[in-house]
């Protein structure tokens, strides 16, 4: 089982689906950011799996996965800073109470 590409890809797909559920369903903004991290990890797993199983790719899969990690770190930094800035004004981390643009 650990020698087939399909197993890793299905695993990555399941992780991505879990992350998308969390992003759509949670109320807390930080929970939504954690779900985005789960989705990015699922994509990263699929990239590394392709790099490990397709000989033409060689080491490119790992290099691209490192780039994705760096961009994910940047995204987490800016996203959490935005959440903290909103929290300072609205005093709540729940996204359904961020309705200033609806009023």
């Amino acid at each position: 089982m650990s020698d087939s590409l399909d197993a890793y890809l299905v695993l990555a797909g399941i992780l991505f689906a879990i992350g998308s559920f969390g992003f759509l369903a949670r109320r807390n903004a930080i929970s939504m950011l954690m779900s985005i991290e789960l989705m990015l990890n699922g994509v990263n797993l699929s990239i590394v799996a392709f790099g490990a199983f397709i000989p033409d790719l060689g080491a490119q899969g790992s290099v691209i996965a490192l780039m994705v990690m760096a961009v994910a770190a940047a995204e987490a930094t800016v996203g959490l800073a935005i959440v903290i800035a909103i929290y300072r004004n609205k005093r709540t981390p729940l996204v359904d109470e961020y309705d200033a643009m609806k009023q």
């Binding site: 089982m1 650990s2 020698d3 399909d6 197993a7 890793y8 890809l9 299905v10 695993l11 797909g13 399941i14 992780l15 991505f16 689906a17 992350g19 998308s20 559920f21 759509l24 369903a25 949670r26 109320r27 807390n28 930080i30 929970s31 954690m34 779900s35 991290e37 789960l38 990890n41 797993l45 590394v48 490990a52 199983f53 397709i54 000989p55 060689g58 080491a59 490119q60 899969g61 790992s62 290099v63 996965a65 490192l66 780039m67 990690m69 760096a70 961009v71 770190a73 930094t77 800016v78 959490l80 800073a81 959440v83 903290i84 800035a85 929290y87 300072r88 005093r91 981390p93 729940l94």
Partner: protein
């Protein structure tokens, strides 16, 4: 109190069941260690991932996320990419998890309604994500990837050659992006003089 423990008990039960199945696979069915480790890490990853999106207490969600990332690092090792596994441990477990836990502790309020964890659209979201998982699995099963029969172990030396020769421009751009993100994060989270609290 008992109801709060239900997700944890379910997760531990899932982990125990899959570990038992892996042990049975090794001892009785003669599978090798790679498969058993793959199953254990996969079950840990999916179980703790489900705990991340379903648990009530958000601190525990963050801790379950660390477990999920650790299991994923183990899967990278099985895949033969040890440098990616090391980067996963350093970047995700070391940096991003700590950042998220700090943000959780900065934004937790005691009077926040803790019983409403999900939006009203939770059931359609669950259906949609199950559909996503099924569609991805079906399309993976239906596609011929033209893959090698064996895993190719990624040599760290070849990878670093590639990173610093062919991919040197994206590498530098990523470093500029990280610098911009650091400055932007400091600017956004900075307390304005005279602003609210």
């Amino acid at each position: 109190m008992v109801r709060r423990l239900i997700p944890i008990i379910l997760g531990l039960a899932l982990l125990g069941i899959v570990t038992g199945i892996a042990a049975v696979m090794i001892v009785f069915l003669g599978q090798d260690w790679g498969d058993a480790l793959f199953w254990i890490f996969a079950a840990t990853m999916i179980g703790s991932g489900l705990l991340v999106v379903t648990m009530r207490d958000i601190i525990r969600c963050g801790l379950a996320m660390i477990v999920c990332f650790g299991a994923l690092a183990g899967i990278y090792v099985i895949l033969g990419a040890p440098l990616i596994a090391a980067a996963q441990v350093i970047v995700y477990i070391g940096a991003i998890s700590v950042l998220i836990l700090f943000a959780i502790m900065l934004t937790q309020t005691k009077d926040a309604p803790s019983r409403l964890v999900f939006q009203t659209q939770a059931v359609p979201a669950a259906i949609a994500s199950v559909v996503i998982a099924v569609v991805i699995a079906l399309s993976i099963a239906a596609t011929d990837w033209n893959e090698a029969a064996e895993r190719v172990r990624v040599a760290t030396e070849a990878m670093s050659q590639l990173l610093f020769e062919q991919f040197v421009l994206p590498f530098e751009i990523v470093s500029v992006l990280l610098l911009a993100a650091v400055i932007g994060g400091v600017f956004l989270a900075k307390r304005e003089p005279g602003g609210p609290s």
